[in-house]
Amino acid sequence: MKPSERDDPVWQAAWSWVQREHEKTMDTVARVQFDDWLQAEAAHRDAYEEASSLWLLAGLVPAKRVGAGGADGSST
């Protein structure tokens, strides 16, 4: 976990998969590519786990703006 890892291509790839998952823009082809990428190397899965836990943390910081978390804060 060095700051220089920001430029690490594996980390960058992991991060962009996390964002694509969030955006729900993955079609079937992308899903297969994602699975292949995950299964190709243990390091890919590690980077993906790390990136998705960072993404989760970012989602647990309270919104600064009123209503940013959805109109009434609920999705129901």
Binding site: K64, A68, S74
Partner: protein, 173 residues
């Protein structure tokens, strides 16, 4: 507001709205059983001063935590089943060395992320919150802020780069 009072507040807000919060989790996870599991996890985090931060809108924050934990739970289950399916098909899936690094969900890490986001220009922070928490597309965010989708994209990139710059300070689970 002290942290203890804040947690009491989040905890009692959670209890008062327990069934709606569980319903929000169930909508994401499908089953009552999984929803109960995630709701319990959310409650433990929200009512523990060591694992939460100050939130100005307790109920909105309870929903935010439940939703995000539920989405992460669903993601993890999907990942496990896809790896399992690959192994069933005879693929040689490499075993991760040791436990993969996950960042702890605790007060200290949340404050680090909060600080990283606080450093962003106000509009960038707002765009990022709409993206991360509001589930809006970049195009929708652009419409709401009255800026181009390209600018929204650049703002989200700035925000995610800020997270990456700070992540070496985060503690692992």
């Amino acid at each position: 507001v002290s942290t203890d009072a804040q947690c009491l507040d989040l905890g009692s807000t959670f209890v008062a709205h327990h069934s709606q919060l569980r319903a929000a989790a169930q909508k994401i996870l499908g089953t009552r059983e999984l929803a109960d599991e995630v709701a319990q996890d959310a409650f433990l985090k929200l009512s523990d001063p060591a694992s939460t931060v100050t939130a100005r809108q307790p109920l909105a924050y309870c929903y935010q935590v439940v939703r995000n934990l539920a989405i992460d739970h669903r993601r993890r289950m999907a990942l496990e089943s896809s790896v399992f399916a690959a192994e069933e098909e005879g693929a040689d899936v490499p075993t991760p060395q040791g436990t993969p690094e996950r960042y702890a969900i605790n007060r200290q890490n949340l404050r680090i992320i909060e600080q990283a986001l606080d450093e962003l220009p106000d509009r960038t922070r707002r765009a990022f919150e709409m993206y991360r928490l509001g589930d809006l597309t970049q195009r929708e965010i652009g419409q709401r802020l009255g800026v181009s989708a390209a600018l929204v994209n650049a703002m989200i990139r700035d925000a995610t780069e800020a997270l990456m710059r700070w992540r070496h300070l985060l503690l692992a689970d």
